[in-house]
């Protein structure tokens, strides 16, 4: 079946709300899923992979465990980027926006591809971001130029022993400067693939024109989650709607 971006976002917000997310968190999480799905990054598959976890645990956030002049380390406490991605990016940009560069690591976190949407949004305030993480046996690297609407998304052969659940984010004035300043961290192995912006654009345009294809089972799962925040209707409650 097909859904619109707007109704998908609305449904996801309510679904995340039903999972205990707070306002702010559920807005951001919904936006992250929708962005991935509408730009061809399998947002629904990634959502499915985390729903069970979110459904069986209380929402938890990251803790700041280390801070030193533009270097931050957050412990994700095994949570999802859906819950700690915004605070991580905000922490990095709070430093970078004052003219310096920032390096931030989130350790012990999952579903890191969702960070894409947060980086794109944060880049609209004239900041650049580079981020990378280990995905199975390769490395994903994302670069976002200031005010860019789409990221450069590439995959590389691993050439260092990366913690499988770590995400590194660098923020500063522009991508070239970040590449130079943090060269020691950004030496990747051979590139094994990229995901052209042109395809992201086409995916997005198609999503808008034709709607977004969603598996009926997932849509029903979201409906089930949404139903948790609905209140049983009674004759008395109808009075609270004007009857």
């Amino acid at each position: 079946m097909k859904v619109s971006k707007n109704e998908l976002t609305a449904s996801l917000k309510k679904a995340f709300e039903s999972l205990g997310f707070q306002p702010g968190d559920y807005y951001d999480a919904a936006d992250m899923v929708v962005w991935l799905e509408t730009h061809g990054f399998d947002g629904f598959d990634r959502l499915l992979s985390v729903l069970n976890y979110l459904n069986t645990t209380s929402p938890s956030h990251a803790d700041l465990i280390e801070e030193e002049a533009g270097k931050f380390v957050l412990d994700g406490n095994a949570t999802s980027i859906l819950l700690c991605g915004s605070e991580a990016v905000d922490l990095a940009r709070s430093y970078a926006i004052q003219g310096s560069s920032a390096r931030l690591e989130v350790i012990n976190c999952y579903n890191r591809t969702f960070i894409l949407q947060r980086l794109i949004k944060a880049a609209q305030r004239d900041l650049a971001f580079v981020a990378y993480w280990r995905q199975q046996d390769y490395c994903v690297k994302v670069s976002v130029s200031p005010r860019a609407e789409l990221p450069v998304y590439q995959t590389f052969i691993l050439n260092e022993q990366l913690d499988p659940q770590m995400l590194r984010i660098f923020s500063g004035a522009n991508v070239a400067q970040l590449e130079e300043e943090y060269a020691e961290y950004l030496q990747m192995g051979a590139m094994i693939g990229d995901y052209p912006m042109e395809i992201m654009k086409v995916c997005y345009t198609d999503s808008l024109d034709q709607g977004i294809e969603i598996d009926v089972t997932l849509w029903e799962t979201l409906d089930d989650l949404v139903s948790r925040i609905l209140v049983k209707s009674t004759e008395e409650s109808r009075a609270g709607a004007g009857d």
């Binding site: 619109s4 971006k5 707007n6 306002p23 049983k232 409650s237």
Partner: protein, 581 residues
């Protein structure tokens, strides 16, 4: 003459003119006293349809003798072609219900992009009548439904069938033949996203333009269907409606609580609407700096007289509204007399409009004040109509993480002083809560600790959330001074939403609506009226503090008027004087 319009710190981005302060404008009672204006969406839509001479043709009219069947209108607008598809069904009168939870209607409708093929028509036929229980696709822009007026529809058909026009007073009492109970757009139920409409369908690239158009077409259909049924019943003696009566027939609307959360969940958009309206007022006030010509004063007198008559013709069983209408009429009669007596002398006065506004603020009801603002805006289309293209804004709410916590505390003290002034230790201050019912997710208002569902409360109590955030910030600042907001959120992640809202809205002129929406005596009807005024409705008829009936497009030009000379003066409809033998 000194006027507080000139002492405020707020200035319009668009005109650099001083605006009324948020502390005055954003009070819920004032917002609930707004009336439609030239910037209202119906007014804008009609201006575009008429001046661009949209061509609207009936391409299918398959109704049986009872008026049931399918009708399609094809619309050739300035930038594109659209189809308005109507399904007319039999409805047992006992099942006729205006509530959103209803699942049967007299009419169901869809506004679609392009022409409709037979295959698409079959798809629409299978889904549109189900409304929320069906699914449509991204070719559909709006989905809507409507019910016949039990008081007027059959009466009008019978009158026409018997060869005479319906009694104008009977029409005036109701104002329409059909009443719509919902018009869904913006991607609901699989429809086209607003982003698609905005980028691909320029004819409807203004807020709610497609939804308003759907209601306009419903009005057109309602008249055609009534005439068709009359002629079916009496081919020999049946007549069509008098042209002035046709113009006087609008579309009814019932609006309930569902509209209220929209205003709270879209504060940037609401700020934009209000800022444009206020900019229009400021523009008008500024242009009276060096005097007003007599013809403008005369036009104001004429329009004031028209509103007096309009208010006198509104029929409402709501005592509060009736009293308000009466009082506003009396005050406008004073304005009318003043303009009659003093008009010629006023022409050379400086800042006449400032003086009038100031006088009204000191002596008259808020509703009268806002009506006067509407009337003043009306006088200067050449100055204010340009704001119609600025009624939309992209809504992005985001945290400014580098802001120091101490600065955020100061920001809340400055911009949300109204929220900090609420005493939440009083039970009445949190005596109500908002929730979504399992019946079509209808928003409802519950009584705290009395009704079920508090644990599923919607976060619409902005004032309360700001208060909690403020207290947390103050405590945090005492233990961790010189930290920024990013650090505060890492420690207090559940406040990220309200922090983003506060920081975003602080950058706007008008900010949030200044009301405690969880107070036990909250009047949601003010929220509904505010939004409806921007839609452009008239004749508010509150049925309780939770829902209101009103009239859309009453007095508006007909499609047959589109190629005629156009005077954009159909607001505040009054009973036409018919020349009937």
């Amino acid at each position: 003459m000194k006027n507080d319009l000139h002492t405020t710190e707020f200035y319009s981005d668009v005109t650099q003119l001083p605006l009324r302060p948020a502390s005055k404008v954003m009070q819920l009672e004032r917002l609930g006293s707004f009336h439609q204006s030239r910037l209202s969406f119906m007014r804008t839509l009609v201006r575009h349809m008429v001046t661009e001479n949209w061509l609207i043709n009936r391409v299918l009219f398959e109704l049986d003798t009872e008026g049931y069947g399918t009708v399609i209108y094809e619309i050739n607008a300035k930038y594109g072609t659209y189809s308005f598809v109507v399904f007319s069904h039999y409805l047992d009168p006992e099942n006729r219900n205006d509530r959103v939870i209803s699942n049967q209607w007299d009419l169901t409708m869809a506004l679609c992009e392009g022409s409709v093929s037979q295959k698409q028509l079959e798809f629409l036929k299978a889904n549109v009548p189900k409304q929320e229980a069906g699914r449509v696709d991204s070719r559909v822009l709006v989905l809507s439904r409507a019910n016949r007026s039990a008081r007027t529809f059959n009466y009008v058909v019978d009158s026409l069938a018997h060869g005479h026009q319906p009694d104008i007073d009977a029409i005036a009492e109701v104002g329409y033949l059909y009443r719509t109970t919902a018009a869904y757009g913006s991607g609901k139920l699989g429809m086209a996203d607003w982003e698609k409409v905005w980028t691909k369908h320029r004819d409807f690239a203004r807020p709610f333009a497609a939804e308003m158009f759907t209601c306009y077409m419903l009005r057109h259909f309602s008249i055609q269907q009534a005439e068709y049924l009359a002629l079916q019943a009496s081919p020999q003696t049946g007549v069509t409606l008098d042209i002035d009566l046709k113009r006087y027939i609008g579309i009814g609307n019932s609006t309930g609580l569902g509209m209220a959360p929209f205003l709270i969940n879209h504060p940037l958009l609401i700020n934009q609407w209000i800022e444009m309206r206020e900019t229009a007022i400021a523009t008008v006030v500024a242009c009276s700096a060096s005097g007003i010509d007599e013809s403008t004063l005369k036009r104001l007198a004429e329009s004031t007289g028209r509103v007096v008559q309009h208010l006198g013709e509104i029929v409402t069983a709501d005592e509060r509204q009736h009293k308000a209408n009466t009082a506003v009429r009396q005050e406008l009669e004073l304005l009318y007399l003043w303009l009659q007596e003093q008009g010629p002398k006023l022409a050379n006065n400086q800042y006449v409009w400032s003086s009038l506004i100031q006088y009204a603020e000191q002596h008259w009801l808020v509703e009268t004040q806002e009506l006067i603002n509407t009337l003043l805006i009306e006088l200067y289309p050449e100055l204010v109509d340009r704001f119609e293209e600025q009624m939309w804004v992209e809504e992005i709410y985001e945290v400014t993480p580098e802001m120091m916590v101490v600065d955020l505390i100061a920001l809340i003290e400055e911009k949300y002083d109204w929220a900090l002034a609420i005493d939440f230790s009083l039970q009445e201050s949190w005596g109500a809560f908002w929730y979504r019912s399992e019946e079509k997710m209808e928003p409802r208002l519950g009584r705290t600790h009395i009704d079920m569902g508090m644990e599923k409360e919607m976060p619409l109590g902005i004032g309360y959330r700001v208060r909690l955030c403020y207290d947390q910030l103050v405590g945090y600042n005492q233990s961790c001074s010189k930290q920024n907001v990013a650090h505060f959120i890492v420690k207090n992640p559940t406040f990220s939403g309200i922090v983003a809202r506060v920081q975003t809205m602080a950058l706007t002129y008008y900010g949030d609506i200044r009301e405690n929406l969880i107070h036990q005596d909250v009047l949601p009807i003010h929220l509904l009226r505010c939004k409806l005024s921007f839609f452009g409705v008239s004749k508010f008829d509150p049925r309780s503090r939770l829902w209101v009936r009103n009239t859309m497009f009453q007095g508006a030009p007909l499609i047959s008027d589109f190629d005629q000379p156009f005077k954009d003066e159909w607001q505040f409809p009054i009973k036409p004087v018919l020349n009937i033998d």
